[in-house]
């Protein structure tokens, strides 16, 4: 093989070869970087690292003008709920149960001179959906104390909106826990005085929550004749909140998703498109590089045509003569893979610092897939080149 290579390497342009290697490294680096970046941010996109969005969603039906005029409330039919429960993206489904009677809440803190009151509303969801863990979250009929969970935004509204303008002091979460609300419930010709205590704040559910057992008991007491079955809101735990099927389903069934939860799905979708674009650009550069290499090899073979013909005349097969060129292509591809992975490692070291800053729980993916993609690409490109080289020598 040494003598054959000595004959066949004549007219080999080192400049062209280096040009190919550089172009191939650039293309391969873009490809592996795209693959690795996608894999590294995948946990963020699919919410495993948990900064982008919760995997709970609250669904409502839109209120139409007709509903507003006629006074009808948009509600979910049992069949609709069942259909939704069967969807592959739904892991768990819960319904909101609203209090059907009137509630008045009064907050008195004499030491601060606070005495405010307001009509309130209560809702309940199954305990599995509540993001506050507390032993106090329980109610047994006969109890005079009712645990309450309010949205964290309410506290923020008070602290940063109401308190500064009313000269009231800002209050912390632990302070709120000590505050007792005087609740008056009435309906069905009856009324009751109860004590309410805010035991926690929810970032997930945007309503005033009380235990399910309390709602069932109080509705039976104060609104026994009102229709209890209407479900106006649903809460879902979904397997992958970025699943496009959720958005499609909601659009098809005219359902609203509370908050901006769908934005994350859109962001994730956009991210995927960006990664795809990056991969395509990388692929194009790689194919162009491969094309340049093939042209160089063809030129080389053209220049060495007579030597190849003479080697065949003394008994060398086309397979044997193609081998040095095929090996050359394979080695240059391998060198490109090595450099591309090296550059990837350096780039990744840099971007992971930012990603981990963004999502501290992020567990970066391994480099295995990037290696696999790079090697596979080199092998496929080499195999294709090998075939073209053999055919042109034959």
């Amino acid at each position: 093989m040494r003598l054959i290579w000595k004959v066949l390497r004549q007219n080999l342009s080192i400049g062209q070869l280096i040009g190919f290697i550089i172009a191939n490294i650039i293309g391969l680096t873009i490809i592996v970087l795209g693959v690795q970046l996608y894999r590294d941010i995948q946990p963020i996109l699919s919410n495993k690292a948990g900064f982008m969005r919760p995997d709970f969603m609250v669904l409502t039906k839109p209120v139409s003008t007709l509903d507003a005029i006629s006074g009808t409330k948009p509600a979910f039919e049992p069949e609709e709920i069942e259909e939704l429960r069967q969807q592959p993206f739904v892991e768990q489904l819960g319904t909101f149960t609203a209090a059907q009677y009137r509630i008045y809440g009064q907050l008195v803190v004499k030491s601060y001179g606070i005495d405010v009151g307001s009509d309130l509303f209560f809702e309940a969801v199954p305990d599995d959906f509540i993001d506050v863990e507390s032993e106090e979250w329980t109610f047994t009929p006969g109890d005079t104390k009712v645990p309450i969970i309010v949205p964290r935004t309410y506290l923020n509204l008070y602290n940063f909106g109401y308190a500064p303008t009313s000269d009231f002091p800002a209050i912390s979460e632990s302070m709120v826990n000590k505050v007792v609300l005087n609740l008056t419930l009435w309906g069905n010709g009856r009324s009751a005085q109860l004590k309410g205590r805010i035991i926690g704040f929810s970032s997930r559910i945007n309503t005033i929550l009380v235990p399910q057992t309390f709602i069932e008991w109080s509705n039976a007491q104060f609104a026994p004749y009102r229709h209890q079955g209407d479900v106006s809101r649903l809460i879902l735990r979904v397997s992958n909140p970025t699943d496009e099927r959720i958005a499609t389903y909601c659009k098809e069934h005219e359902l609203n998703i509370e908050g901006d939860n769908l934005n994350a799905s859109k962001a994730s979708w956009l991210m995927r498109i960006l990664v795809a674009v990056v991969l395509v650009i990388g692929l194009i550069i790689c194919f162009l590089a491969a094309y340049v290499l093939m042209l160089s090899i063809f030129l080389l073979m053209q220049r060495n045509q007579e030597a190849i013909r003479n080697l065949k005349a003394i008994g060398y097969t086309s397979h044997y003569l193609a081998r040095p060129y095929q090996l050359l292509v394979f080695l240059t591809n391998l060198v490109s893979v090595g450099f591309a992975m090296l550059i990837l490692s350096f780039s990744r070291y840099t971007y992971l610092k930012y990603l981990i800053g963004l999502a501290p729980d992020l567990r970066p993916a391994s480099l295995a897939v990037a290696w696999l993609v790079a090697l596979l690409f080199a092998i496929v490109l080499s195999a294709f080149s090998a075939r073209v080289i053999y055919r042109s020598i034959r």
Partner: protein, 198 residues
């Protein structure tokens, strides 16, 4: 092992293993073409050429490669040496395929044709006569059933032609191959069983 070559042209020719043939013709009549046709390097002719009753045009590229390695040894008119390889490397590039001869044997052959001092010189700086001898040695460094030489002594003096003739006769006695030599006038001085005119 090929035992005969048949040229089925308008003037048929038949070459048998172990015998010597001299094909003579004026310049441009087709002596070189005939040798190229036999090996299947060219196929622009009317008629058939068979090697042991098998048409050369039916040989696959792989079979032809084997043919050039082990059955047909050529000394081409244009020699077909590799200019950037040394004299020895030009011989070794054929020899290494079948390991037909040891390096000592090749050195001895170089000695006999007076090229021992050209052993490691690139072929491109050798004279045509020296290159002719290198090409001749190269053809002897492979197994073969026929040795086909296209004007092998055109640039050699009589003394060198005599040396080549002695070597080829000795090799033929040992190995039993057939010899086909083309000649424009000056002929390799060996015994010929048949002189053919094109």
């Amino acid at each position: 092992m090929i035992s005969d070559i048949h040229i089925g042209f308008s003037h048929p020719m038949h070459f048998e293993r172990g015998k010597n043939y001299c094909v003579e013709a004026a310049s441009g009549i087709g002596k070189s073409s005939l040798l190229h046709f036999i090996g299947g390097f060219r196929s622009d002719y009317i008629g058939t050429i068979t090697l042991d009753q098998r048409d050369i045009r039916d040989f696959t590229p792989r079979e032809r490669a084997r043919l050039y390695r082990t059955e047909l040894a050529y000394v081409f008119q244009n020699l077909r040496l590799f200019p950037n390889l040394t004299a020895f490397e030009n011989v070794q590039i054929v020899n290494q395929q079948t390991s037909f001869r040891s390096e000592e044997e090749i050195r001895a052959l170089f000695e006999q044709v007076g090229l021992s001092d050209k052993w490691d010189q690139p072929a491109q700086i050798l004279s045509w006569g020296q290159q002719q001898r290198v090409a001749f040695l190269r053809a002897l460094c492979q197994p073969c059933s026929f040795l086909l030489m296209d004007e092998p002594v055109s640039h050699l003096d009589d003394a060198n032609a005599r040396i080549m003739a002695d070597i080829v006769t000795r090799e033929q006695t040992k190995r039993g191959f057939g010899i086909v030599v083309t000649s424009l006038g000056k002929t390799l001085p060996i015994h010929y069983d048949q002189h053919l005119q094109l």
